[in-house]
Structures are given as C-alpha cells and as structure tokens.
C-alpha cells in the first residue's frame, strides 16, 4: 500500500501504544490485527477434466492428489512451502534458488502459487511427454524472463543455483569459476550461430543430437 497510508497506520499504532502505556493496559497480544489474508483455499477441477488434460490415469491422479493435499491442505503451494519441501531433498546444500526457478517454471499462470492443476500439468509433461515437450519445458526453466532466449547471465544464474545445491563439502572443491566454466561449455555446445544467446530451436536441435541428453531424458519414465 502507498506510503502515506502506511505512515498513517504507523502513527495510529504509535498513538494507541502511548495511550495504552499511560492508562496501563500494555498487553502485547493485541497487535495481531494486521494478519495477512487467510490462506487461499482452492479446489481443483474435476477428475475427468484433469484426466483429459493430462496423460495420467485416474488412479495416478488420485494418488498424486492425496500426496499433494496431505502436504498442502489448502490446495495451493506458495513459494516458501515449495522451497521448504524441495530443500528437504538436498540437505547438504542450499536448494532455495533452484526451487525458486522451478516454482516459476511450474507456476504457468504466474499468480504466485502452484495449484494442483499446475502441478499435475507440469508432471504430465515431465513424465509422460514427448522428448520435444520435455526439452521445451527445460528451455522454459532456463529462460528466466521468458523472452524466448537464454542469455549467458540467465544460464549463469541457473548454474549457480544448481551448484548451490551441492553445498560446501564436495570433491573436488567447488571453485568460484566452476559455474561460469560450465556455462561456457554449455554455450559452446548449444549456441550454433555464436550470437551469445540460445534460442529454442538451437536448444532442441542440439539436445536431439546429443546421445547422453537423449538417454537421460528417458530416465524418469517410471517415476509414478
């Protein structure tokens, strides 16, 4: 809210505080009026609709939803919860930056929270999609500002986030320039026309020609 409104509110609070001090009713538990809006409740679309939109079977959707709702009873995940959950898988390092990028990749409508639909759409692409779709999703993840180009800075951010997840105790020791070197290597491979950015076509082309990457894309087929 605007500055003036905030100042006014602060002033009012201070006046209230003075008044309470003088009249002697200084209880500390009365200042919780500024609660944020109560948690948003969200109910997903029906099972049939989701079944149609994603490539999961009914049973799989049921299992997914049960796990989702158990962790987030309100039906949506906000960024902090997301970071929290993701960090639990990487105890040695700091997974919050990468989780932030992941969150943005899942939150396709950019409303600051990931609902079950977003979640399940993302998973559908990642687990049941074609190679093209998966590569598309990965490109979307790397392209932080979603302008269709991956610049070196964006890639460097992503790379640093990935290396952050490793933490401190690695072998060999992580040096300052390791992410940058990795980014250079990546650009060397991907940026065919050497214009300093990687477009979606360059990316998909190059990945399709790389055997390792193709093989690794099939790695998580049987996750659900």
């Amino acid at each position: 809210m605007s500055c003036r409104k905030r100042c006014k509110r602060e002033l009012l609070k201070f006046a209230q505080y003075l008044f309470r001090l003088i009249t002697g009713t200084l209880n500390t538990d009365s200042v919780e009026d500024e609660l944020e809006l109560s948690a948003v409740r969200h109910r997903p679309e029906g099972l049939e609709k989701l079944e149609a939109q994603t490539r999961f079977s009914r049973k799989e959707l049921q299992i997914l939803y049960r796990g989702f709702k158990n962790e987030c009873p309100s039906g949506v995940v906000n960024e902090d919860t997301f970071k929290d959950i993701y960090s639990q898988f990487f105890p040695q390092g700091d997974a919050s930056t990468y989780a932030h990028f992941l969150f943005n990749a899942f939150d396709t409508d950019h409303n600051g929270s990931v609902s079950f639909e977003d979640f399940v759409m993302g998973l559908s692409i990642l687990l049941r999609g074609s190679v093209q779709e998966k590569l598309n999703w990965a490109f979307n993840l790397y392209d932080i500002n979603k302008d269709g180009y991956i610049t070196k800075e964006e890639m460097l951010d992503i790379m640093k986030a990935i290396y952050d997840m490793m933490g401190k105790c690695t072998y060999p020791i992580l040096k300052e320039e390791t992410p940058r070197q990795h980014v250079d290597m990546f650009f060397q491979k991907m940026d065919k026309n050497k214009d300093g950015v990687v477009t979606i076509d360059e990316f998909i082309d190059c990945c399709q020609n790389d055997e390792n990457i193709m093989r690794s894309m099939q790695l998580f087929e049987n996750v659900i």
Partner: protein, 634 residues
C-alpha cells in the same frame, strides 16, 4: 526425510529433468521398483478397534514397526488384518503420526504408558512436535524425579566395596547414613554454636571487679576465650581437611561456597597468630575478627532452610537490584530537594546532599528517627512528599517483587529448559540430516564397492554389502547421484572436505621445487603413509619416489593413493576415460587447467596404488585408506 515429503519425491525426480541438458556426464541408472504394488488399504486391528489406512501411508517411516516388515509378524491370516494387542487410544496418536507427519502427546495420557507404546512401535520420542514436546519433557522429568526420590529413600543400605574415602564423603554429605557421621554432625554443630556464642559473649561487659571500669569479658578472661577459640578453630580445621581429603573432586570442592565459608571462618585466627606483635596492623586485625561471624553460615550445612533462602536470594537478585536502584534514584532526588529547601534555614543539619541521604532514607522507610528534621516550610512540604512517596516506593514493589519472583523464577526455569531441550533437539535434527546425507555417501560407497568387487568376482562380499535400502531411499540417492553427475562434483563429508581444502590452500604457494615442497607440505600424511606403503608394495616405492620428478612440468593434479587393494585393477586411472563412474572426477574434462597426460613410467605405480578402491575416493575414514599426493603446480 519427513514423511509427507516422501510423497513429493516423484515430483523432485521429475524436476531433475531440468538438469539433463546441462550435464556433460551420462546419468546413472534409475532404480526400479521390484514389485510395483498398487496402493491398498490395510486394516489394523488394535484390541478390537479397527483402523484402516493406505499401505503407502505406513511405508513413509520404514524404520518403525508399522513401516517395516516387522508388522508381518502380527498379520492374522484368517481375518486378513494386522492385530495388535495394545492400547487403542494411544494408537490413535501413533497412527496420526504416519498420516500427518507430526506426533502429538495427549495430555490425559500417562507418560510411562505413552513411552511404552512409542517404544513398542519403534518411534523415538524426539519426533514429538513442538506443540506437545515441552509438555512431554516436563512430565517425563517429573516422573523421573519422582522415581529417583523413591529410589533415594531406599538407598540407605551401605554399598559394598566403597573405599574409605568414599565412605567418608558419604558420611559428610548424608549424616544419617551411620552413627559415626551423626555424631560428627552434632559435634560440629555444637562447636559452631559454641564459637558463635563465644564471639558474642566476648564483647559483653562483665565488670564484676569494682576497681576497674567495665571491660568486656574478652579482655578479662583472655586466656579462657583464647583457649575456646583455639579449640573451635582446631575442630573446624580438622573438619575442613577431612572434607578436603574425602572430596571426590578436590578442585570443585575448594571452589564451592561452603568450603569458602569454612576457610573464611578459620582464617582470621591463623592470621592473628602470625601477626600478634605488630601494633600498626592490630587495628586491621581487629577488623578481621569480624569475619569470625561467618562461622554462623556454617550452620547452613545443617539447615536445609538456610540453603533454600540463600538460593532464593541469589535467584531473585535482579529484582532486588531493581528495587535498590529505584530507591537510590528516589533518595538522590529527595535528598537534593531537601538540601536546597533547607539551605536557607540556620543551624540546619542538612549540611550537604550526602548528609541529606540519611534523612531521606529514614523518612522513606518510615523509620523517622528524628535526628534530622526540616525546619523551613518548603522543607516540611517536601519532607511530607518524601515520606508519602517512600511508602509507595517501598511498599508497592515488594508484593510485585514477590509475585514476580515466583513467576519469573518458574519462567526462567522453563526458558532454560526449553533452551537446553532446543539445543539437544537441533543437534538431533542435525544428526538426522547428516544421517541422510551420510546414508547417501554410504550407499554410494557400497554401490561403487559392489562394482569394484564385481571386477574380481568376489560375490560373497558383495552380498554382504547389499543392504536392503528402501525404494524411497534408493530413489532419493539416485536423485542426488544425478545432481553429482550434472555438476561433475561429488558429495563428500566434512573430514575429506577439510583435508582437500587444506591441500588446496597449500597448493597456492608457488615454490621453487614445487614437487618437493608440496610433498613436504603434506609430509604428515603422505610420506609417512608412503613409507608404510613401501613395505606392502615393492613395485610402488621406486616409481612413487620418481613420481614428482617426472611430473614436474605438469600442472596440479590430485592423485589418490589408496592402499593396495586386494583386487587387481584394469587401467591406470590417470588416463581413465570419463565414463568411469566418478572415481576421480578431477581427471575428466571439467578441470581444463590440468594437463592430464602423464608419461607412462609412473603408470605402473598409480596403477598399483593410484586406482583407488572406490571407498577412499569418498570416504576418509576407512582405516588408513586415502592419502593424496599433490603434484606440483608450476
């Protein structure tokens, strides 16, 4: 890993696709589900009450009874349900733990019954969530204290095989244990009383002889009093020395309050013995005799009440301090005011502000001796204000202090408790966190060791190492493994990290004969080990020493020299192909600053000792496993 989070593992693994285009190494193979069961409802019959839940819910915590195969022991074939002959009420909380990931402690439940149920179902109490943890710990401590009190009452029987010293100490601490101790206790008590009374009577004038004026008894019967004093001091000294001898920790005993009081009580006597002749210090000596009154504090050993009072005052010190401070402020204010008010009047006793302090104190505490009274009107007005406010300043805080004291006292205790608990809990959580990362390192080690062992075909050891990790664990480890591959760095634990950090710090010094110096820098670990190794490996010693010389032109490389493993290895690891799973990552393409190729002569030595069994690569603690020869940086 928390339970509900396990449900998100598929998501985290799917998101790992984001690393794939960036990685340069091929990814490890994913673990497959051996028997992919559909999720089913299972029935838990606890003393007749049926609970139902999904199987995967229970599988979240594989190290508990319900989550592991241990529950199969309770499976009832006819009714196709798991039957437990336990308390169904407590089972409710336990099952909720699986469902929500939080273990709650119901307040109406008896603490020991709850503990037993937790122990039966294999759940550690530290998992109890914050909302109930404090309550749980409090009740547990209460219970433990109660049990301990009961136990202590039964502890009067003398334990066999106690040394004389221990017996003595026990006799001193608990006089009720033996008759001898009781006698000693009463004798010392009597002598303390005698000593105190002597001190008091010494100063009473007993002027029965008419020719002299009244003189205190002490000066009249000097010898008698001196003998009495000597006797008491003798007894106290002997007692102190005996306690000192018997104390289990003499240093701690000497620091304790009681022993300091003992020392202070008997010291003036000895000082007096030493300095009887000097007249100048006899004044100081007289002052020193005041400390004899400290003997009365020796009674606190005999009186529980005194000890409690002392402890109370000590813990209430801050409140008392506050009272004193506010009083001081008020005194100064009023003294100043009275001084200036009475300045005008003649023959005023208020000669200075400090002199007015006395008046203020006497008035505020409503004593009112009357040796100083204000004479001016202004003085009287301010004097009355002073006495009124004195009532307020003194009377009001005292009940507040008393109630504050009990509240703050309990609160402090609770806060300290919570702090101590929190530290312990955080330590445990950290341990479990490192436990999970250690589990990964361990499984990696086992996995690689399996591969290495496969080379030699020694199957029996492999089966030993094949611990059954749960599917979730293996999937989690696979995920971490993928991350390692993506970044081309490995997870290691603290020790190895410290070690390699030190080495890289040493490496940063450029030096003339780089190889030797860098070796010398590591002599502690390396050379001693190499000399040890040369006993095992006759072939390795010679090339190992030529190692640095032949490699002088090369940039820095890490070479892991493990102990000679009982298996033969295929190729020199220095020229290994990048697809050899993560043994020495520094060799592969990531570190472009290092020149990898090394002339062949040293090839045989690293072959013998350079290709490590996978264990030393990631684990520093397998005996004398790993030593690292750092070769020069030019």
């Amino acid at each position: 890993m928390a339970a509900g989070v396990a449900a998100w593992l598929p998501f985290a693994r799917a998101a790992a696709i984001g690393w794939m285009p960036v990685a340069n190494l091929p990814m490890p193979v994913a673990p497959t589900e051996k028997n992919k069961r559909q999720d089913e409802l299972i029935i838990l019959n606890v003393s007749g009450r049926r609970f139902q839940t999904w199987r995967t819910t229970l599988d979240r915590y594989p190290d508990t009874l319900l989550g592991s195969s241990e529950k199969e022991f309770f499976f009832n074939e006819e009714t196709r349900e798991y039957f437990f002959d336990r308390d169904p009420d407590v089972f409710r909380s336990i099952l909720n733990f699986y469902r929500t990931g939080k273990l709650h402690y119901p307040r109406y439940e008896c603490i020991s019954a709850y503990d037993e149920e937790l122990a039966f179902f294999g759940i550690i109490p530290e998992i109890i969530s914050d909302c109930c943890y404090e309550e749980y710990k409090d009740r547990k401590r209460e219970n433990a204290e109660r049990l301990m009190d009961d136990m202590e009452d039964n502890k009067d029987s003398k334990l066999p095989n106690m040394t004389f010293r221990e017996t003595m100490w026990r006799a001193f601490e608990n006089p009720h244990t033996s008759t001898m101790a009781l006698v000693f206790y009463y004798v010392t008590g009597f002598f303390i009383a005698v000593s105190v009374i002597t001190n008091v009577v010494e100063t009473v004038p007993c002027g029965s002889t008419p020719n002299q004026k009244d003189m205190p008894c002490g000066e009249r019967y000097t010898v008698a009093f001196f003998c009495m004093d000597t006797a008491c001091v003798m007894i106290f000294t002997v007692e102190y020395l005996m306690r000192l001898f018997a104390a289990p920790s003499r240093y701690r005993f000497m620091r304790s309050v009681m022993s300091i009081i003992d020392v202070v009580a008997i010291l003036p006597y000895y000082i007096g013995l030493v300095m009887t002749n000097n007249e100048d210090v006899s004044g100081a000596f007289v002052t020193l005799r005041v400390f004899r009154v400290f003997r009365i504090f020796k009674f606190s050993r005999h009186s529980q009440g005194l000890r409690i009072l002392g402890y109370t005052l000590k813990s209430c010190a801050s409140e008392l301090g506050f009272l004193l401070f506010s009083l001081t402020m008020a005194i100064i204010i009023f003294a100043t005011v009275m001084f200036y008010a009475e300045k005008g009047s003649t023959s005023s006793k208020f000669t200075s502000i400090p002199a007015s302090f006395w008046y203020t104190i006497v008035t505020m505490t409503t004593l009112g001796y009357g040796d100083m009274v204000p004479k001016t009107i202004a003085g009287k007005i301010f004097g009355s204000i002073c006495s009124l406010s004195g009532v307020l300043v003194i009377a009001l805080p005292v009940p507040v202090i008393v109630s504050n004291f009990s509240r703050i006292y309990h609160q402090n205790q609770r806060a300290d408790k919570r702090r101590a608990q929190k530290k312990a809990r955080l330590a445990r959580m950290r341990i479990s966190k490192t436990g999970s990362s250690n589990a990964f390192l361990r499984s990696k080690r086992n996995g690689l060791l399996n591969e290495a062992l496969e080379l030699t075909g020694s199957m029996e050891e492999e089966q030993q190492l094949n611990k059954t990790t749960s599917l979730i664990e293996s999937q989690h480890h696979h995920l971490l493994h993928c991350l390692e591959k993506t970044t081309n760095h490995e997870f290691v634990d603290e020790q190895l990290y410290e070690q390699s950090y030190l080495e890289s710090a040493l490496q940063s010094y450029p030096s003339r004969s780089p190889s030797l110096s860098s070796q010398d820098g590591l002599t502690g670990t390396c050379c001693s080990r190499r000399s040890k190794k040369s006993n095992h490996l006759p072939n390795a010693s010679a090339p190992a020493s030529t190692h640095p010389h032949s490699l002088q032109e090369l940039s820095a490389i890490h070479i892991q020299c493990g102990d000679q493993p009982p298996l033969s290895t295929s190729r020199s690891s220095l020229n290994m192909m990048p697809d050899e799973p993560g043994r020495l990552n520094c060799k592969s393409g990531q570190i472009t600053t290092a020149i990898i190729s090394i002339p062949t002569p040293p090839a045989n030595s690293p072959e013998g000792d350079g290709h490590p069994p996978p264990s030393p690569a990631v684990q520093p603690g397998t005996g004398s496993g790993s030593n690292v020869v750092k070769v020069s940086a030019l």
